[in-house]
Amino acid sequence: GIQVEQSPPDLILQEGANSTLRCNFSDSVNNLQWFHQNPWGQLINLFYIPSGTKQNGRLSATTVATERYSLLYISSSQTTDSGVYFCAANPLRGSQGNLIFGKGTKLSVKP
C-alpha cells in the first residue's frame, strides 16, 4: 500500500522563525490533508490539498501531485504552533476513503 513519510521527525524553533515540513507519498492520491495535533490529542484540520497551493494566515501548503510530495510552511512561528503535524493521504487505488498517516513532525517553538 501507499507509504507516507514526513520529515523532519523533530524540529525546534525560536519564536519568530520560519519552517518547512515535508510529506512524501509513494502513490497517487485522491486526498491529501495536513493536521495539527494539539496537546489534548485532537487533530485540527489545517489544509485539504491534493494539489496546488493554499494559504491560511501564517500557514501555507503546496502539493505537487506529479512528484508526490507536499510542503507545509509556517512563518513567524509562535509558541502556540507547538505540537505534532501530520500529513495524511487517501490513495487513488484500492481504498474506501480512509487516510494513511505519516509518523508526524514534532514541532517545539521556544519563546
Binding site: 485522491n30 486526498n31 490529542g41 487533530l43 484540520n45 485539504y48 476513503g97 498517516f101 508526524g104
Partner: protein, 112 residues
C-alpha cells in the same frame, strides 16, 4: 462547521470489561471511521462504515467490533478489554471524495 463528538475524553476500564466508545457527527456524512493512535506506530484504521448498518474491517480489527444503527452515530466496541488496547481512539467523519475528513477530540482509554 462540521462537528464530531466522542462520548468520553478519558476512560479507565478493567481487563475483561465490555467497553463502548461512541462517536456522533452532525453533518449527515455517509462515511465514518475509527482509528487508534499509539506512540511509534502512528494512526491505524480499525473499522469504517460507509452507510447505516454497513461496516468494513480496517487494518487492525482484531478484538473490536462496531455498530452503526443511525447515520450520525458510529460505536466502537471492545468485547473484552485487554491491556494492549490501552490507546488513544479517534473517530472521523467524511462526506465523499474531493472533501476533507474531520476528526473528533479523541478518547484516551486505559485498560488496567
Amino acid at each position: 462547521d462540521v462537528k464530531v463528538t466522542q462520548s468520553s475524553r478519558y476512560l479507565v476500564k478493567r481487563t475483561g470489561e465490555k467497553v463502548f466508545l461512541e462517536c456522533v457527527q452532525d453533518m449527515d456524512h455517509e462515511n465514518m471511521f475509527w482509528y487508534r493512535q499509539d506512540p511509534g506506530l502512528g494512526l491505524r484504521l480499525i473499522y469504517f462504515s460507509y452507510d447505516v448498518k454497513m461496516k468494513e474491517k480496517g487494518d487492525i480489527p482484531e478484538g473490536y467490533s462496531v455498530s452503526r444503527e443511525k447515520k450520525e452515530r458510529f460505536s466502537l466496541i471492545l468485547e473484552s478489554a485487554s491491556t494492549n488496547q490501552t490507546s488513544m481512539y479517534l473517530c472521523a467523519s467524511w462526506v465523499a471524495q474531493g472533501r476533507e475528513q474531520y476528526f473528533g477530540p479523541g478518547t484516551r482509554l486505559t485498560v488496567t
